[in-house]
Symmetry: C2
Subunit: 167 residues, 2 copies
DNA sequence: AGAATCCCTATCGAACTAATAGGCATTGTA
DNA sequence: TACAATGCCTATTAGTTCGATAGGGATTCT
């Protein structure tokens, strides 16, 4: 899965709307200004988020955007899938399962791809917009999702190579 | 991280060379035929793998390609980084660490991105070409890397949504 | 000498990405 | 009721990436 510039903008805009949750409609212009995003491009993104029922809009003067659901009910996986497609590094989960079943020669390879997508999905399904809110004074970030009967998963000590592992 | 068609071809070609390990040089044409890959495109890929010292070539008649190191010393992470770039879903690990440090407003978001890349890295660093070899008769695949003093990590029961979780 | 094979650079069309443009529709307010 | 503010929507564009092909040069075996 690759997160595009557009995907990043979407997430940033939604973080902004999360901060302003319950404060009524926010103008595109204000979101763009506060998050330093290209206004016209953001307009397109918000339209897409609206069609996906993640945000809602008010038109005309005093119009603007706001979240349609509480921030702790909007998962990062949902947004990323919408804007940037499947979480799998190749194809999508369904396709990979098919290949694992049918392509005996490359089964093990596709299984690794599926493992990677599952690991990403686990993180992104369990992180909501609410989890991204950091208190202004707070130090190094660490988040947790609890509410609404969801399993809280803390990704503790996940690190690959040595202490110094680039990419 | 997104694995391109080219990346998949590279991995497939290397799996083929793993099967033929210690059997001398294999012609591009034979690899292409056996794995059903476009020959000319594969040529480019192998050239790149050669420059990265993953495979070595012999030129002239009786020429061809072979792995330059034993299959259990070639990690999927190395190949994917070479062909498709950083494992992170956005930017690279170093850049993400910088953003987490400096961009207070979006720190938590970038931390999630880094968590995702760490999860992917963990899997891909711990899987080698040797791990992808399945016995011809064997059923559902499961692999493990042991040799050369590496920590063997079995990604057990990693699954996101419900039983039926597409992408 | 000649055939086989890898080496290398160039090129191509299709698709995707990030962004901009501009007119239409709706709504609050003077 | 006008009009200004704002979102809605479609089109367009320049630049990049992707997947693939082409072809001549260099090397090595027989």
């Amino acid at each position: 899965m690759k997160i595009s510039q557009k995907g990043l903008y979407a997430l940033q805009a939604l973080m902004m709307l999360t901060r302003r949750y319950n404060q009524g409609a926010i103008r595109i212009r204000d979101i763009a200004y506060e998050e330093s995003l290209p206004e016209k491009f953001l307009e397109l993104i918000l339209l897409e988020l609206k069609n996906a029922r993640i945000v809602e809009s008010a038109r005309g003067a005093k119009g603007g955007y706001q979240l349609r659901r509480p921030p702790d009910e909007i998962r990062l996986s949902e947004i990323i899938r919408l804007v940037d497609g499947p979480l799998a590094p190749f194809g999508d989960a369904e396709q990979l399962r098919g290949l694992i079943t049918r392509d005996a020669d490359h089964r093990a390879l596709y299984q690794v791809f599926l493992d990677v997508r599952d690991a990403a999905a686990k993180i992104l399904e369990n992180t909501t917009l609410a989890d991204l809110m950091t208190k202004p004074g707070a130090g190094p970030a660490r988040r947790s999702s609890k509410k609404k009967g969801e399993a809280s998963v803390v990704p503790l000590m996940v690190h690959a190579g040595g202490k110094e592992g680039h990419d």
